[in-house]
Amino acid sequence: MGIKGTHVSVGGVLNVDGSMEVDEVRVGGTVEVKGFFKAKKVSVGGRLKVDENASVEDRLEVGGVVKIGGELKAGMVEAGGALEADACFADGVKVGGKVETRRGCRSKTFEIGRKGRVIGPVVAEYVKIGRDASVEDVYAGRLELLENSSARNVYAREAYLKHGCRVSGELLYVEKLELERLTQINSRKVEKLPEPPV
């Protein structure tokens, strides 16, 4: 392990040419870590970029963009702008703008903001897709698609779709489906949902 510490507080930029293991990181601007990154609590005002895997035991808060070259494991993830990772495993994910994963994002709760975009599958107990947002495949316990949002495929125990929502593929549900007017879907009640990819 290259850099090992307890508390890191930087007003502007933190640049780590190697791996880093710390308890708490607070940076006003940008954090770049060339290796892997392990922390308990992280707060970054601007951008967090990690070339390899990242693990944040408690809370990861980033005002702008989180970009992880490998896998992200975290407690709560909050990003105002975007989250990019090969895969994300977290207790909660709340992103304002865009979530992009190659293998998928698995969490207990998942929320994408208004006009947001989700690329890659989402697997969560509770999923909330903001107004005018779009998502690809969703595997949810409970799914809420807010007004005019869209999904490719939905596999949910319960699904609640506000008016104007679109599901371009299929919507399979087990227990309950609630649709508001002008909602266009191809839905089917099933006994068992397909296995999620992550």
């Binding site: 507080s9 930087v10 502007g12 640049n15 040419d17």
Partner: protein, 208 residues
């Protein structure tokens, strides 16, 4: 003993205090070192063409003390508004110099306070180090507290309890419990710390 201004004097061992007049030169009569068992007081600039061992040294009116060898002082070195240039090693209990300290072969003391700059060609071993301007060390730094107002550069490893730098700190890794830097902090080697607090930019580089 009293040396008149602008004189060159040879000394071997002196059991009493020594007063050295302005712009004098002193050197060892035999052997490599001058030994003064009392205090050495410099009036102004002085060239010492050998190593010097003394109980304490002081300079009241400013000037440059140039030692061509080691300077080993049992108690204190006090050069108010002065410069201390030691080609070899500097050792003392307490060092307080107004402008500049250069130690070609490193230094060891309990505390050192320099108003301007501190340059060491070797290791620095001091419990408390306080430098107003710039500190540059070619070797390792070992101590408890290090405070630098301007810029710190350490080529070797740094081992400290607390580091406070107002401007820029460039080190080569080590173990520092508490790091506070106002501007830029760079570490080019393996670094272990508890707290890192940087106002501007922190660059941590690891060569595995």
């Amino acid at each position: 003993m009293r040396i008149e201004p602008r004189k060159t004097v040879e000394i071997d061992v002196l059991e009493e205090d020594l007063f050295v007049g302005a712009y004098s030169t002193i050197k060892a009569k035999t052997g490599e070192a001058i030994i003064v068992k009392g205090n050495v007081e410099f009036e102004r600039d002085c060239n010492i063409l050998s190593s010097l061992r003394a109980y304490s040294i002081s300079l009241e009116n400013g000037g440059k003390i140039n030692v061509q060898g080691d300077l080993i002082v049992e108690k204190s070195v006090r050069l108010e508004d002065g410069e201390l240039l030691v080609s070899g090693r500097l050792e003392a209990e307490d060092v307080d110099v107004g402008k500049l300290v250069k130690a070609g072969n490193g230094l060891k003391c309990r505390s050192i306070s320099v108003g301007g700059g501190l340059e060491s060609g070797g290791d620095v071993d001091a419990e408390n180090i306080s430098v107003g301007g710039t500190m540059s060390v070619q070797g390792n730094v070992k101590g408890s507290r290090l405070g630098v107002g301007g810029t710190l550069t350490v080529k070797g490893l740094t081992e400290l309890e607390k580091l406070d730098v107002g401007g820029v700190a460039r080190i080569n890794g080590g173990i520092i419990m508490d790091i506070n830097v106002g501007g830029v902090f760079e570490s080019a080697g393996k670094l272990v710390f508890e707290r890192l607090n940087v106002g501007g930019v922190a660059r941590l580089k690891v060569v595995d």
